[in-house]
């Protein structure tokens, strides 16, 4: 018993150094030598300022931008406080929230059913993507607000659609931040 206790104490300390310190620092060093941008979170820098991460969603509320999904992270897209709503399907708050958002969207698109992902919160509250259906749904609103033709905005959406990875895995999607940046870029060129 006492000999096993001595071993237990030494074993804990030595393996802590190996697995808790050497291993993660080794991986960190490797990541920074080979894939520095990915290791730092694929940050997007414009005019010397970080404006976000390619793979972390942001909140968009104006008509001139495509909207992300609703978010339960903090006050919405709080990337230091990720969270889902954790509402059950039988929770009245869920149904009320969805119907409220549907009513807002249908103001500009009367009677047109809203794609489900556009009115549901994601698991992380930081989903960078919406479905192609949810992007196409917003084309008319964005085009009107920016005084562009529906066709030109739809073309932009089409070019930003990502298919399934390797043609098989996951679901088709549109990265909202990238799409909105492209919208701004297109506007500044005119």
């Amino acid at each position: 018993m006492t000999s096993n206790l001595k071993i237990a104490i030494r074993f804990t300390l030595i393996t802590t150094v190996l697995l808790g310190i050497i291993y993660p620092l080794l991986v960190t060093a490797f990541a920074h030598l080979t894939m520095p941008s990915k290791a730092d979170g694929q940050l997007i820098v414009r005019d010397g300022k970080v404006i976000g991460s390619e793979i972390i969603g942001q909140n968009f509320t104006g008509d001139t931008y495509f909207h992300s999904r609703p978010s339960a992270a903090g006050n919405g897209y709080d990337a230091a406080n990720s969270s889902g709503s954790n509402y059950a399907q039988s929770n009245k708050k869920l149904v009320d929230r969805i119907q409220g958002d549907v009513a807002t969207y249908q103001k500009t698109e009367p009677g047109k059913p809203v794609p489900i992902d556009l009115v549901t919160t994601s698991g992380s509250g930081l989903d960078p993507d919406i479905s192609p259906a949810a992007a196409l749904y917003q084309v008319h609103r964005v085009a009107m607000a920016r005084h562009l033709s529906d066709a030109s905005v739809e073309t932009l959406v089409q070019t930003h659609m990502q298919g399934r990875q390797f043609g098989i895995l996951g679901e088709p999607r549109v990265n909202v931040l990238e799409l909105n940046l492209a919208l701004d870029d297109a506007a500044s060129q005119h």
Binding site: M1, I7, G20, V27, G52, Y65, N86, Q89, V102
Partner: protein, 576 residues
Amino acid sequence: MTANGWLQILIFLAVLIALMRPLGLYMARVFEGERTFLDPVLRPVERTLYRLCGVKAEVEMGWREYGVAMLLFSVVSLLLTYLIERVQHILPWNPQKLAGVEQALAWNTASSFTTNTNWQSYVPETTMSYFTQMVGLAYHNFLSAAVGVAVAVALVRGIARKQSATIGNFWVDTTRCILYVLLPLCLVIAPLLIGQGVIQNLHPYTTAQTLEHAATPQTIAQGPVASQEAIKMLGTNGGGFFNTNSAHPFENPTPFSNFLEILAMFLIPAALTVTLGKMSGSSGHGWAVFACMLLLWFVGVFCIYASESRPHPLLHGVDQHVSASQAGGNQEGKEVRFGITGTALFAATTTDESCGAVNGMHDSFTPLGGMVVLSNIMLGEIVFGGVGSGLYGMLVYVVLAVFIAGLMVGRTPEYLGKKIEAFDVKMAMLYVLIFPVVILILTAISVLAPQMGLSSLNNNGPHGLTEILYAFTSAAGNNGSAFAGLNANTHWYNITLGFTMLAGRFLMMIPMLAIAGNLAQKRSVPPSPGTFPVNSSLFTILLTGVILIVGALTFFPALSLGPILEHLLLQHGILF
């Protein structure tokens, strides 16, 4: 459900089956102490470690000493992690200047990670420093997994050996599992994950001037995620670096990273069935056990996939159809990039074993989808199961199945040449009973105590009961996933769940080691015409039946008051 969805599931299965056999045979060599291709590099490290720790590698232990060593190590490492959490504010790698962790939470978290549960009552981004995550928590991801494998291997030795007083050396089994299995696989998986976009740094959180709201900047949490993510999945730990675990884009950025993470969860537990076949000398038996696991896994995936694809019955003006341009179905708590398929596959896998990582919020699943993930844990996570714990949990059911088959024909049951006697069956029943007793009693107390139990609920009605039931099931099963709406960061839940996790781990490991020790010392009897073959499809069916009957008899009443009732009420338009 779509053709592409099924294709994704079948590809996953094909890759798993292709990889499990070589890995299983390799692990058999590792635990038999034979030479492996990594020996030139790792053997010197292994020897140095034994020398520094004072381990006598050639001396084997009986089951009692093996158990004592396991417990002593768990206590020491638990205390170290508790200490690290409490004083993290004076330790390095804390760029966010987070304070020391409060007592009850620190206790709960240390128990949680030591027992391979990785239940998380806290929001990691705002609670745990990088040092605590790396040195306190990710460390246990390695060790709790290695301890689980060690106990499983000891049990397999017990089955395989004849008239032996010992079942191996705990320190050697644990060390070899870390050095030869977990560490090399992590060094392969972590870079692959970084390549997909999982972050790995020690920077302070980033402040971003967002496109539309530059005045209210977005703070983006950072950290050494990939190194922890690899072992979190591989060791079936499941404790997220971030609050939302593998739903967070920095933990699981792409469909391929999702595929890798699911594969990493399943790989070692599936391979251990091959190791069982190899070490026990009956590869047919390994496959029969694998077939039973595969069947139960597949049924789970199918049920969750089907259930989550269904539209919510009470929504108007919403397009919930599955089509080429959207995944449809129940999207609350799911990420667009994974869709229903990627979430269902992940959810079934993480609860079939004791992983508990999530890439979607189980609390927001449809009532029946949520019931399946809960039932998976209730069956004891023996479908591939946790690293090690799944195999030994399954072997308990194997002992029971053999025992029941023996009763049916009126013979003393045998298992791979060993007579199964009263002591073995008593220990197996102890294992089967401790689990529901802990879960059901503590759930009942929580429900009856409004101040302590019910005030934490996020959803009312039958779903509230399911939240509490899920919490104790997850803790007892050392799963760690949650119906996360329940606020478990209270004194009541932190303390009771902490004890539940310890009971679910150690009260179940010790009967296991007792069976191992008892089987090891028995003589082997040659098979006779009356021996029930444990490598046949009939055995697979009987084993599946025993698992389902024990599980259903134990938990059906509780399930009928939770998810089943919620489903029926929802179909009638009743909300809470």
